[in-house]
């Protein structure tokens, strides 16, 4: 399973300076391995469910490290279907209705299909370190839960929605888990979120309130329909199509997660997790190409005059969504386990993105506009549900195979759907293997695919995003999982555990439920987090002490 979170950005689109959109598909499909999850037992629980950290079979002085690398590649397609009337792009009628003679009969219907192959890296690393035997475990990790990487044709019909975007929000998380009882553990973590954002698009000034106000206010005083509510027929005009980009904007945020892990029976594990969203304020520089005589000289006598290249500071505010997840796992028999989760993601938090551009060059004193321009991008997303189910089969003592299927409901409504958020009913299919080379080292290889059921919308606001969207994403990752033993008592402890569970090597340490975990039997663990399965599945041997 993978957390498939619609990545937000929706920076522009309908009515904003910067367009980017959040596509569910740009959610980083990997955090931890395919074996990670809210009821899994690995160091990635730092992110997935801190309460599960106590389920790791670690003693003070030991540690588990899980490091992963991978690549995410995808295919995004969009064929725009223009359904509203537009004037000739080289025209400049600014008030609806536009004269019939100025309407372009050829700007209608399906446009050329555009596509992109997003490609991005995946990286995560988690470590779990027990502090108090069977009581307190710390987790530390870094992962990138939200990534959006997209390059679309500069001059494609989607250019007003976006040309390119790069968004990443790495989280560095420190978590702690406490085992309250052999049945229940709780944990919480706090994350520092570093965000980076770059994007480019063609900004349609027809939808910018700044221009509408400048033309309608004295001294020009021309009643016009420019602005966020501009009708389609006065949008997408060549003269008002200004290339725009934000480069390397950074944001710093704080978030937290908290989880409860339950082990009511030997075979059943339950996890309940809450992830808090983070308020992100990206700050960077923007560049706006105003090199058109209309903006640079033609109306200078009326007070409208920008430099050919307008540069300044950009601020983009958004909120990463909150999420609550309920997961459960069940050991069906000694070789087969089943687990899954369902999440509710508060994408309604993502109702709008607030963008402010500031530059002395923005000011047009004669027209009553100042150095800053605020523009809200209305997204109006709705809460989404994400669910996945995985089956994990211990094929051999060293090999575990898993398959995953999932579904995400769309967050983006038809009205604001655009090419930067090719959102829809998303189907997830994935598989993974775990091969344990030694007691201390295992390799986890995962492959996952996500695709949306091709989505066609005909009710896009202002005819901006009507058309058909397709999305496919694939993630291939490899993780290494290592256990380290500290000096002194840890070694002796491991030896003792090895004696008590000498045949446990068949089960990988990442087994999600408590039945096949590499945990010593209850007899040796009075406060054992996951008792050895009654079925007698052999847990893996405890990892040896780390090599000096």
């Amino acid at each position: 399973m993978r957390r498939v979170v619609p990545v937000l950005l929706g920076l522009c689109g309908a009515s904003s300076w910067a367009t980017t959109a959040a596509a569910s598909g740009f959610d980083a499909p990997t955090l931890g391995s395919a074996q990670s999850g809210p009821v899994a037992r690995d160091a990635a629980a730092t992110w997935w469910n801190p309460g599960r950290l106590t389920a790791l079979d670690l003693e003070p002085g030991q540690a588990e490290l899980q490091v992963g690398l991978g690549v995410i590649v995808g295919s995004i397609g969009y064929q725009r279907d223009i359904r509203a009337e537009h004037q000739y792009a080289d025209n400049l009628d600014f008030k609806s209705p536009v004269a019939t003679s100025d309407l372009d009969p050829n700007k209608f219907g399906k446009q050329e299909k555009v596509g992109a192959i997003p490609l991005g890296p995946a990286f995560d690393a988690y470590v779990a370190i027990p502090a108090i035997r069977d009581r307190l475990v710390f987790g530390l990790g870094i992962g990138i839960p939200y990534v959006a990487v997209l390059n679309l044709p500069k001059n494609g019909p989607q250019r007003f929605a976006g040309q390119s975007i790069f968004l990443a929000t790495p989280h560095a998380t420190l978590a702690a888990a406490v085992k309250l009882h052999r049945v229940i553990s709780i944990g919480a973590g706090v994350s520092y979120v570093l965000g980076t954002l770059s994007l480019s698009k063609v900004q349609d000034f027809g939808e910018v309130g700044l221009l509408g106000d400048a033309l309608s206010n004295p001294p020009i005083g021309q009643d016009n329909d420019f602005g966020p509510d501009a009708p389609p027929e006065i949008r997408e005009l060549d003269v008002l199509a200004r290339p725009f980009e934000i480069k390397q904007a950074f944001a710093h945020g704080v978030s937290f997660n908290a989880g409860i892990a339950l082990q009511p029976t030997d075979k059943l594990s339950i996890g309940l997790v809450y992830h808090h969203g983070a308020k992100m304020t990206f700050r960077g520089k923007f560049r706006l190409d105003m090199d058109d005589d209309f903006f640079t000289q033609d109306l200078a006598a009326q007070g409208l005059q920008y430099p050919a290249l307008l540069e300044g500071k950009a601020r983009v505010r958004m909120r990463l969504p909150k999420r609550i997840t309920l997961g459960a796992g069940y050991q069906i028999n000694r070789r087969v386990a089943l687990d899954g989760f369902v999440s509710y993601v508060t994408y309604q938090d993502f109702d709008r993105i607030r963008i402010r551009l500031t530059s002395p060059d923005l000011a047009q004193p004669a027209l009553g506009t100042g150095e800053s321009a605020d523009q809200d991008l209305v997204r109006n997303w709705k809460g989404a549900v994400a669910t996945e189910v995985s089956t994990r089969i211990s094929a051999t003592k060293k090999l575990l195979v898993s398959v995953t299927a999932g579904y995400n409901s769309p967050a983006s409504p038809d009205s604001t759907l655009d090419v930067f958020s090719p959102d829809g009913h998303r189907i997830i299919l994935g598989s993974g293997i775990v091969y344990r080379f030694t007691d201390r080292a295992a390799l986890l290889a995962d492959l996952e695919g996500q695709f949306i059921v091709p989505r066609t919308t005909t009710s896009s606001t202002y005819d901006l995003g009507n058309g058909t969207y397709s999305l496919f994403l694939a993630a291939a990752t490899i993780h290494g999982q290592f256990k380290f033993a500290g000096r002194g008592g840890a070694k002796g402890r491991n030896k003792g555990k090895a004696k008590s569970a000498p045949t446990s090597t068949a089960a990988p340490a990442t087994q999600p439920t408590g039945t096949t975990e590499a945990t010593p039997p209850p007899t040796t663990e009075p406060l054992g987090t996951a008792p050895a399965p009654s079925s007698g599945t052999a847990p893996p041997p405890p990892p040896p002490a780390p090599t000096p």
Binding site: F166, I220, E245, D298
Partner: protein, 575 residues
């Protein structure tokens, strides 16, 4: 530092970021087109049709505009008569203390203006004998003079209104800068000079916004004329809040053309070609002027009158009729002696023939004073009562009187040039009337309209040799399509001083079909209201030749249209 490290780490982890390429190019300046070199250029015809666009220029903004342009916006011919009357009235009402401050000549002049039969001092003149005659017949001399002029004894010899009129016609009306104003050069006005209404002074936008700061310079001595304003300070026509607003309905964007020197796109102000329709004169608000002072005035005004260096005797003959033979009539109209002659003649123009007989107590007529309808005065005595002056025109008599009195106090001939200063004189033209005149004149004056409109949309940039116009669908069929217009002199941009930034050095303006420029295909036909530019309709595949103002000759090939309102041209330099 930590932030920088984090960023570096992040960027190193995520290297493939999108947006890595620069999506915004930096514009570059075009280079000169080399002989034989070809380039393509895209021209756009974009309309930004504004309706009722109200452009307000504040006093500060207007003052910052090129002075030449302001001077070319003629607003009205200001009637100077109210100002002159007010000035004379102010002189008449001058406080005693101020009178004492005047020069002797000025005081003498003031007394002349105020002279009545009652206060006239006739000593030293031909009329002095009237004093003796009056005494002999027992009536005051003032009575005789008043009867002769058919007016009251306290009425001025020359009414102020008459003085003002003659000053207007003889002094102001003869001043070069009050006779002609600058305007558009056309067939009727090849020198670009237009007549000014008599007795008026031309008022331009420059005069208004500067509160007539150069009044003394403009109406001082010029070309042998002594001028009539020696100094003027504190002219108050507009307040600091003055604003001039004009409503425009037009395409506010300039045309896009080509400077063939470097095949660069240049802009040509489009307002000139729309001048016929740019203002809606049916809208009373098409032009508004606010901030004119309620009572325009001059805080300090000094004006002068010069006398001839010689004593000019009055005439002694009726001939040549109707003025007589005084040499004063041959003097320049602005000299004191000539002014007196004209003023007196004008003041008696409406006086009917009058003849009064004065009898002694015995009933015998002793003195007869008559003036006929021509102003010829005959004074006779009977029975040896005195020696009256010989017959003469009344202006000849008064000329002598005026010259004598002007030199009272021992002033010699040529020493009585007069400079009189008065304060707080009203211009006498109400602002509302001034506004109406301005609107009327600007409306009726296309050149003023053009200049005024150019203030609203100063959008010419670069050095276009020709430009592109698309005949839109609403035009007659024969005007639709794509056109190239060759620039005229009025299309050249002006500098901060209002002067053209380049000479109109085109030796062969227009479009030709041969490289030798012998077969012109452009003409002045009307397209979209324009009939002043050489123009030619074009279509893809057409080949034209033009020569710029530097003598660079190019071949223009009309390429396939990129879009409805764009035009693609291939331009090749011929030599």
């Amino acid at each position: 530092m930590r932030t920088a490290l984090l960023r570096a780490l992040l960027l190193s982890l995520l290297p493939a970021a999108a947006c890595s390429e620069d999506s915004i190019a930096t514009p570059t300046d075009p280079t000169t087109l080399a002989p034989g070199e070809s380039r393509e250029v895209d021209l756009r015809y974009l309309r930004f049709d504004v309706k009722g666009f109200a452009k307000t220029n504040t006093l500060e903004q207007l003052r910052a505009m090129p002075r030449r342009v302001l001077q070319d916006v003629w607003l009205l011919d200001l009637d100077a008569r109210p100002l002159m009357v007010n000035a004379l009235q102010a002189l008449k009402d001058l406080p005693d203390a101020d009178v004492e401050a005047l020069s002797p000549a000025a005081q003498n002049m003031r007394r002349l203006v105020l002279m009545t039969p009652d206060n006239a001092e006739l000593e030293g003149t031909n009329l002095e004998e009237l004093i003796a005659i009056s005494g002999a017949i027992g009536i005051p001399p003032a009575k005789c003079l008043a009867d002769l002029l058919d007016r009251g004894v306290t009425d001025p010899f020359i009414p102020i209104e008459v003085v003002a009129d003659i000053m207007l016609s003889n002094v102001i009306g003869t001043h070069p800068n009050a006779q002609k104003r600058r305007g558009k050069v056309d067939a009727d006005h090849p020198d670009g000079l237009y007549p000014v209404a008599p007795g008026h002074i031309p008022l331009t936008l420059a005069d208004v916004v500067t509160n007539f700061e150069d009044m003394a310079e403009r109406f001082g001595p010029v070309d042998g004329h002594p001028g009539f304003v020696l100094e003027a300070r504190g002219v108050s026509v507009v307040e600091d809040q003055f604003a001039m607003t004009s409503k425009v309905t037009a395409n506010a964007l300039p045309f896009k053309g080509v400077d063939v020197t470097n095949v660069d796109v240049a802009s040509v102000n489009s307002v000139g070609g729309q001048i016929e329709t740019i203002h809606d004169f049916s809208d009373p608000e098409w032009m508004t002027l606010t901030g004119l002072v309620a009572d325009p005035s001059v805080e300090f005004l000094s004006f002068g009158v010069i006398e001839n260096d010689a004593f000019i005797p009055g005439g002694t003959s009726r001939e040549p009729a109707p003025k007589g033979n005084s040499t004063g009539w041959d003097l320049p109209p602005w000299e004191f002696e000539r002014l007196i002659l004209d003023m007196v003649q004008a003041s008696v123009a409406d006086v009917p023939a009058v003849c009064n007989d004065y009898e002694l107590g015995t009933g015998v007529t002793a003195f007869s004073g008559c003036m006929d309808e021509d102003g010829w005065v005959t004074l006779e005595t009977f029975n040896g009562v005195g020696s009256p002056p010989p017959p003469a025109y009344i202006w000849d008599l008064e000329l002598e009187l005026a010259q004598v009195r002007l030199h009272d106090g021992g002033l010699g001939e040529g020493e009585a040039d007069v400079a009189m200063s008065i304060q707080d004189v009203g211009v006498g033209v109400p602002p509302d009337e001034m506004i109406e005149q301005v609107k009327k004149n600007v409306q009726a004056n296309p050149e003023a309209l053009r200049e005024f409109a150019s203030l609203l949309t100063d959008s010419t940039a670069g050095a276009a040799d020709f430009y592109y116009v698309r005949g839109i669908d609403s035009l007659p069929a024969d005007q639709q399509g794509d056109w190239l217009f060759f620039v005229t002199e009025s299309d050249i941009a002006i500098d901060d001083e209002g002067n053209p930034v380049r000479d109109y050095g085109y030796t062969s303006p227009g479009f030709f079909t041969d490289p030798q420029l012998t077969k012109k295909v452009s003409d002045l036909r009307v397209v979209d209201g324009d009939e002043t530019h050489e123009k030619v309709r074009i279509a893809p595949g057409d080949v034209l030749y033009v020569e710029d103002d530097d003598g660079v000759r190019v071949r223009i090939e009309v390429l396939e249209k990129p879009s409805r309102s764009h035009l693609a041209l291939g331009i090749t330099r011929m030599q």
